[in-house]
Amino acid sequence: MSDNKEEAKVGLGQKIVFGLAMFVASGLYYIVFLNKSLMVLQNLAYPY
Amino acid sequence: MSKFKIKAFFAQLLALILAAPMIAWAGGGGGPFDAGTFSAIKVGLVVFAIFSAWLIKDKMGLPLPKLIQAPLLWIICYIGFRVILQPPIPFSLLAMYMGVCTVCIFLYCSLTRPSWEEFSHPIAVMLREDHATAKMSRYATFLIIPGLIAAQTYNQMLPKFGEPIELRTVHPAPPASINVHKKLVTLQTAENPFRIGDDGNYLKVGDEQKYFGGNAWTGDVPKFLQEVQQGGVVFFGTAGCFFCHGDNLDGKGPFSFAFNPIPANFADPGTISQLQETFVFWRVAKGGPDLSREAFPWASAMPPWEKHLTTNEIWKVIIFEYWHTGFFPRTWG
């Protein structure tokens, strides 16, 4: 997103790995943790 | 031929290939696909079109001036909503969509200072400069704009013979209670007596999902599906609901277009799945005549079925409708 100098040193592969990890983490956070806990708090069913 | 020209040629070819099936499908209304797949393909096509536009514009360096882009975008939006989106949407919705598009296209042109200058500069030149091109386009503009307004006015004033639009409340507030076969039914609290699970107890809304999708008409079925079966008999036999509400409960029965308003489409996510079972019971039992004034009781062909069906038959046909469409009634728990 930004053109800073530090970024140039980081390899593409490293970025992809980190990106994938973050993608999985955000998926876990939203779909598993956030949805589940908020539905449970409301006493409603949520299958995932 | 230079490399750039080849690229441009391919881009145009791509656009043509893209356009052909769109036009074909626009007429055919879906062809081999069901509505869901069809709309997914269309969304995909639109995304692909945007992608190719980006390729042509930003990657191949074939920019269009903003002043051309704006009307072009507008026309594309219009074709999209008018032709590609099938079946045709009513004018009120089209006007709403195009209103949003018009505003947003203007916003798009004025997003940043450079793009606003790019957009407004030719207009300023057209209005200000004194050379022949500017003059000619000035005259043309001052002819076209009043001409368009005149055409619009003429269109508006032209007498029309279509039936007028009725703004009818589709889901009016129900009464607190109704009297069916000399029994008082309180709509807030009443329950469907045939919503019964395998253990003979009341089946909570949502729990009936396990019966969805199966065949209710094979020999040995659970209690719930037996009720569904009997409801189906009412729907297709005793009452003949399907004549209007359709074999697929989608409001497209053979008689449906003889009526105005047309029968309710239960397969739509905005009808029975938004309503309590007791609301549906009220509508089936009392029909059009018992609608409140805001819903124009005289403008509904729904008969008061309490005069032809028993209370139990009404409850069973409701079970059948929910089961068949795969929706759940509204609850407040």
Partner: protein, 644 residues
């Protein structure tokens, strides 16, 4: 002898002033004491008759009858009229205008208070910045002062309209609320007193961040507290009309005024109104600043008002974000109070008004984004982000289209037949709640993304983990959007009560982006290299117009939703207690309501522009004097410096 040094004098003075105001606070309770004594006397005199409350159950179900029944109002005896003109429209307009100005004078002191506090806190670090905020607060207060008298005039007009046109109804309402109404009126004395001391004492009490300044700020606290109490009191009358309590089925007052005030819808309406007022106040101050921005002649002035409009807009948006949730809660309480009322609002007679509101909300969010895009024109380095603007705008358009698609379409029978049914197989799916929640959450998320870009637009990140931060932010936003879409689609396949529950995680996803995203972004900007200072005053005029649009959209939304809240009572003055028997008890057609709402908005802005112009007039006079003095001083300093 006591030797009061300057500092001590100030302290004593401040304490004296505070204690005087403290005494004034007690004044309004005098009538309450009298009332209580009266009631006690009445109670002793005769055997009390008890009756059942319409709302309270179990504890406090029965109360002593202490008022006459509501009875049946008769037309024309209990109603006044001006010929054939709709009396209700007159009440409608005068009510709306009073409410606009009332909300304005309630909301502005809230901002002023916050601005003054920031000014004081900043004073230590940087007196210049502190003074900037202080001047801003002072200027806002100046507008509020003129608006205050307009509010009082409009309040008078409203009362006279009630007395002239709805005497029967007003007799009943004032019979129940008479102690509250008197306390209300007396509180106004206090409010005006505090307001005048607060405004006129601004300069003389200004000692940077010293004791006087803090006492001045506490005056502001009292001003706000009294303002909110006033608003809550007036609000109880309105919520009593919607959901009466503390009276029996015939409308007889049962002796406990607190039960009448604390009726079922009172608290949610109050919360919704305070938040709405704050958002509206921010919008109007932003409009004022843009008005001054557009008319400014020097770059310095332009810079000042550009900055002011940004601050005001920001405050307005802060109040706007929790507003939908307060509205959601109010709607839930309405459903819980009377399901019929809820259906009339959301699915029945008044459902179309919600489409109007939807249009306004979409306008609000698109405008905020557009303003942020324009505002980035004054940030050097923002050119890097120009290419993302159109993507964000495109997302907003798609969300708006889904957001606006109604479930019940307006169409001719011919169009209906061409469509093959009452619902469209594709866009018909956007007509239900799942799609609406998805759309609005997408719009808010997009706005947050715009804000994140705005924050970093004139900085170059220098933290070593910037690339990680960027990827984290991208995934946070992407994940939220995916989750919002997923929950939206999932909502079509489950029962309605679970579907409604899904809106909570949807909103939580949006808020995650808002809080985590902005926090991480701010952290990333720590020590970032500035590409250039913000060039205040260099925003395009389109940004200023966008803020004007924002403020007008706020006022229009208020008009529409106020109409909605009031007309949901249908043919009742006081729901299920006092029936409206005048010829104007019907619900107006949509077109008429839209026209009257637009008229209200127009009227309000006309008056407001007058108020703005007035404050500019005072400023112009002052400047002229200053200029003359400066000129005089320049002429060889021959003139002695009068009072200075």
């Amino acid at each position: 002898m006591l030797n009061l040094s300057g500092e001590k004098k100030k302290k004593v003075g401040a304490w004296l002033l505070l204690s005087m105001i403290g005494m004034l606070v007690l004044l309004p309770f005098a009538p309450a004491v009298v009332m209580a004594a009266e009631e006690a006397a009445v109670e002793e005199a005769k055997e009390p008759e008890k009756a059942k409350d319409v709302f309270y159950k179990e504890e406090g179900e029965f109360g002593i009858v202490s008022g006459p029944p509501a009875g049946e109002l008769v037309y024309p005896d209990d109603y006044g009229s001006y010929g054939d003109f709709q009396s209700r429209t007159i009440i409608w307009i005068s009510n709306q205008q009073h409410l606009y100005f009332g909300s304005f004078v309630l909301a502005v002191p809230m901002f002023v208070w916050v601005m003054e506090l920031i000014g004081i806190l900043q004073y230590e670090k940087n007196p210049k910045v502190g003074k900037k905020f202080d001047d801003l607060a002072h200027e806002m207060m100046k507008i509020s002062l003129t608006a205050y008298s307009v509010t009082a005039i409009l309040g008078g007009i409203l009362i006279f309209s009630f007395l002239a046109l709805y005497p029967g109804f007003f007799r009943y309402l004032s019979g129940i609320f008479k102690p509250v109404m008197h306390i209300y009126a007396l509180l106004f004395i206090l409010e005006s007193g505090v307001l005048y001391v607060y405004y006129y004492g601004w300069d003389s009490m200004n000692d940077g961040n010293g004791d006087w300044k803090w006492s001045h700020l506490s005056l502001g606290t009292i001003l706000n507290a009294v303002g909110i109490v006033l608003m809550v009191m007036a609000n109880t009358w309105v919520s009593f009309m919607m959901s009466p309590a503390g009276v029996d089925a015939e409308g007889r007052f049962l002796g406990d005024i607190w039960k009448v005030m604390h009726n079922p819808l009172m608290v949610p309406v109050v919360v919704h109104r305070i938040l709405g007022n704050a958002a509206f106040g921010g919008g109007v101050v932003a409009a004022y600043a843009s008005f001054k921005f557009l008319s400014a002649k020097t770059l310095e002035e332009k810079a000042h008002y550009d900055w002011m409009s940004y601050i005001a807009m920001f405050m307005g948006i802060l109040a706007l974000i929790p507003l939908p949730f307060a509205g959601y809660w109010l709607m839930r309480e309405i459903y819980a109070y009377r399901q019929q009322m809820g259906i009339t609002l959301m699915g029945g007679l008044l459902a179309w008004v919600f489409i109007m509101q939807a249009t306004m909300i979409a306008t609000l969010f698109i405008t905020v984004n557009y303003y942020l895009f324009q505002a980035m024109g004054r940030m050097p380095g923002s050119e890097r982000y120009y290419k993302y603007f159109k993507v964000l705008l495109a997302i907003l358009v798609v969300a708006t289209i889904a957001w606006l698609t109604p479930h019940t379409l307006v169409m001719t029978p011919a169009e209906l037949k061409a469509m093959g049914g009452a619902q469209h197989p594709v866009v018909g799916n956007y007509g239900v709640m799942s799609a609406k929640n998805t759309a609005i959450n997408t719009m808010i998320t997009t706005t947050v993304v715009s804000f994140i870009i705005y924050q970093r637009s004139n900085f170059k990140l220098t933290v070593p983990w910037a690339w990680k931060g960027n990827i984290f932010l991208a995934m946070l936003i992407l994940g939220a959007e995916v989750n919002i879409l997923f929950l939206g689609v999932y909502g079509y396949f489950i029962p309605a009560n679970v579907r409604i529950g899904l809106s909570v995680p949807q909103v939580a996803s949006t808020l995650s982006v808002l809080f985590i995203g902005v926090a991480v972004n701010t952290k990333m900007l720590k020590g970032a290299e500035s590409i250039g200072e913000i060039r205040w005053g260099k925003m395009s005029v389109r940004g200023a117009y966008a803020l004007f649009m924002l403020a007008v959209a706020f006022t229009w939304t208020m008009a529409v939703m106020g109409y909605l809240r009031s007309s949901v009572r249908l043919h009742w003055h006081v729901n299920e207690i006092l029936r409206d028997n005048s010829p104007w008890a019907f619900t107006n057609p949509l077109g008429y309501a839209g026209n009257i709402n637009s008229l209200n908005v127009l009227l309000f802005w006309t008056m407001l522009l007058f108020v703005f112009w007035l404050s500019a007039l005072a400023g112009a006079g002052k400047k002229k004097v200053e200029a003359e003095e400066a000129a005089a001083a320049a002429v060889g300093k021959a003139v002695p410096a009068g009072s200075h």
